[in-house]
């Protein structure tokens, strides 16, 4: 018998859109809403939009979306005030970062050498961005900005906060009262304070405690602030996973003579962490978006750089286009993380029928 391809869309529609009177009503309402919204959006974003090179005047005359802004200003938005003729460096750094993340995403590569690869790549990115060696013009972190800064802070904060959070979670469940108290105290303290104030403390108060003449880079302080903040939240997610592991698993590890760290590393954490992939990735995504708050300590992340690009009086009216573009970049990264976590969950839970 020939499969009836022609009826497929109809069947699909019946099953998904009109399966009950309430669903039919919702479908009709949604269609009506689309009907109202789509034409003006398409008119603004496509039909009347200005593309390619140009100036604000052409945009104003066209009356639609001003994508010209992106053509003219994308380098400022992406790289901030990093010296213009050196933009290949942050671009290359980002490419390295993406390659590193792509490698790390593959489970086959979860071997000790991956940590070494991380160190090397981060070192390479540091050299690229800072310069000062190998004939590269030195660029201070105050001049870093845009997407590379967002990526550096987000990825490094996540990469450092994750192991730290595991130690905190283990500490919170420790039998040793001092370690337990320290972990609980830290987690509760940090969770009780908004990120903005942690960043302020890291950037304003922290230097006060340093001896005279010693300064720590502003970006580094923001990175430390983000790390410390994220770790506290991650620790609670990890603890949730630890609590879900039955006591029998700990006992079986004990009976086989595994040490505490062996039991944690080989038995408990692999099971606990895969249980809490969703809240962990949730926290990663939050951390990525929260990097936009580093602007309050005077760093030009992607959002701040976009804002700076819109400071030009001629372009100012087209802020919607600028922020839409920035939002799209944030969305791409966050969406990727979310899809990756779903894939990873399926991949790791193959042993559960």
């Amino acid at each position: 018998m020939k499969p009836s391809f022609r009826h497929r869309p109809l069947d699909w529609g019946r099953a998904n859109l009109f399966s009950s009177p309430a669903n039919s009503l919702l479908t009709v309402l949604a269609l009506a809403l689309l009907w109202q919204l789509a034409p003006p959006l398409v008119g603004w974003g496509v039909l009347r939009a200005s593309w390619g090179a140009g100036d604000p005047e052409t945009c104003r005359q066209a009356g639609g979306a001003c994508w010209t802004l992106l053509t003219e200003k994308h380098r400022l938005m992406l790289f901030g005030v990093y010296p213009y003729e050196q933009h290949w460096r942050p671009l290359l750094a980002m490419a390295l970062f993406v390659a590193l993340l792509a490698t790390s995403a593959n489970r086959r590569f979860w071997r000790p050498w991956l940590a070494a690869l991380w160190l090397l790549t981060v070192l390479g990115i540091g050299i690229l961005m800072w310069g000062g060696v190998l004939g590269l013009v030195p660029v201070e972190t105050a001049q870093w900005g845009g997407l590379p800064l967002t990526l550096v802070i987000a990825v490094l904060a996540i990469a450092m906060a994750f192991p730290f959070s595991i130690l905190l979670a283990l500490g919170r469940r420790s039998d040793l009262p001092a370690i337990k108290a320290l972990s609980v105290g830290y987690i509760e303290l940090v969770r009780g304070v908004p990120l903005v104030s942690v960043l302020f403390m890291a950037s304003v108060m922290f230097p006060l405690f340093l001896p005279e003449g010693v300064t720590i880079d502003k970006a580094l302080r923001a990175l430390v602030g983000m790390t410390l903040f994220t770790a506290a939240y991650l620790a609670e997610a990890v603890r949730g996973g630890l609590q879900a592991i039955p006591r029998g698993q700990f006992e079986a590890a004990d009976v086989l003579g595994l040490s505490y760290w062996q039991a944690m590393r080989l038995i408990i954490l692999p099971q606990a962490l895969r249980l809490v992939i969703p809240p962990i990735v949730n926290q990663f995504i939050t951390c990525f978006k929260d990097t936009s708050l580093v602007t309050i300590v005077g760093l030009y992340d992607l959002l701040a750089a976009t804002k700076a690009a819109l400071n030009d009086p001629g372009w100012r009216p087209f802020f919607v286009e600028g922020y839409l573009a920035a939002a799209l970049v944030y969305f791409c990264f966050c969406f990727f993380m979310s899809r990756y976590s779903q894939w990873l969950e399926r991949e790791l839970n193959r042993d559960r029928r």
Partner: protein
């Protein structure tokens, strides 16, 4: 008689204010099979869990293969290396394959070469008659198969003593036999075994010594013939009447 391989002497244990083990004294010779039974909550699990320090006793002496269990970590490690344990709920590691479950401790704790550990593991899987399941995950096996894997895992470190805590109570009735068969085979090879179980057929066939516990005390110790046919203690009689009568 040679020195006992497991020796408990006036062992007492409290959970908070609750006196769970009262003056437990028990000697197990090398190669001896001891079956422990008694009503629920009488302290059977707690007693055998004290033998490998899953529970800590508060007074008395526990000596395993010449090593006295004290707070000393080294002693605990030494004892755990000599004692294998099988739990009621299997406690296999669900994220590792059957083979990985078996090779983990030999490689990580005993420092065996992975290849040798795998050979040993496969030989043990043959012995518990499931070599074809080596590559599967525990969740893909039946309860009886899982418990046999757990026995093989405990044997991987070549223990001198095996502890079993109700190894068949979590199993469907049709799987109890296959696990008891493996245990009987082990007994026939001369393993020293301490089993908490209510499988009285198994006990009668395999045990050298029956131990009856009630309310934290060892009430009766006797060879199975006398234990089943002429129990000395009133409580033993009542208990046997209950579980054999049904």
């Amino acid at each position: 008689m040679a020195a006992p391989i497991v020796e408990l002497c006036d062992v007492n244990k409290w959970f908070g204010a609750f006196h769970v083990l009262k003056d437990i004294t028990l000697e197990v010779a090398k190669g001896e099979k001891v079956v422990v039974c008694g009503p629920s909550g009488s302290g059977k699990s707690t007693m055998i869990r004290c033998i490998n320090r899953l529970e800590e006793h508060q007074s008395g002496r526990i000596v395993v293969d010449g090593v006295e269990l004290a707070d000393d970590i080294k002693a605990i490690d030494a004892v755990r290396r000599r004692v294998g344990m099988v739990f009621q709920s299997f406690n296999l590691f669900p994220h590792l394959t059957v083979l990985e479950n078996l090779t983990l401790a030999p490689v990580r704790v005993a420092g065996m070469a992975p290849r040798d550990a795998e050979a040993t593991a496969m030989a043990l899987l043959e012995r518990v008659r499931i070599p074809e399941q080596a590559g599967k995950f525990p969740g893909q096996l039946s309860g009886g198969q899982q418990q046999r894997v757990a026995i093989a895992r405990a044997l991987c470190l070549k223990p001198a003593v095996m502890l079993f805590d109700e190894p068949t109570s979590a199993l469907d009735p049709e799987m109890v036999g296959e696990v008891l068969d493996v245990m009987s085979g082990l007994a026939a090879e001369g393993m020293t075994m301490i089993c908490v179980t209510h499988e009285m057929g198994f006990a009668r066939a395999v045990a050298d010594t029956m131990v009856f516990m009630d309310e934290g005390r060892i009430v009766e110790i006797a060879p199975p013939a006398r234990f089943f046919d002429h129990p000395a203690n009133e409580r033993t009689k009542r208990f046997l009447g209950k579980i054999i009568g049904h």
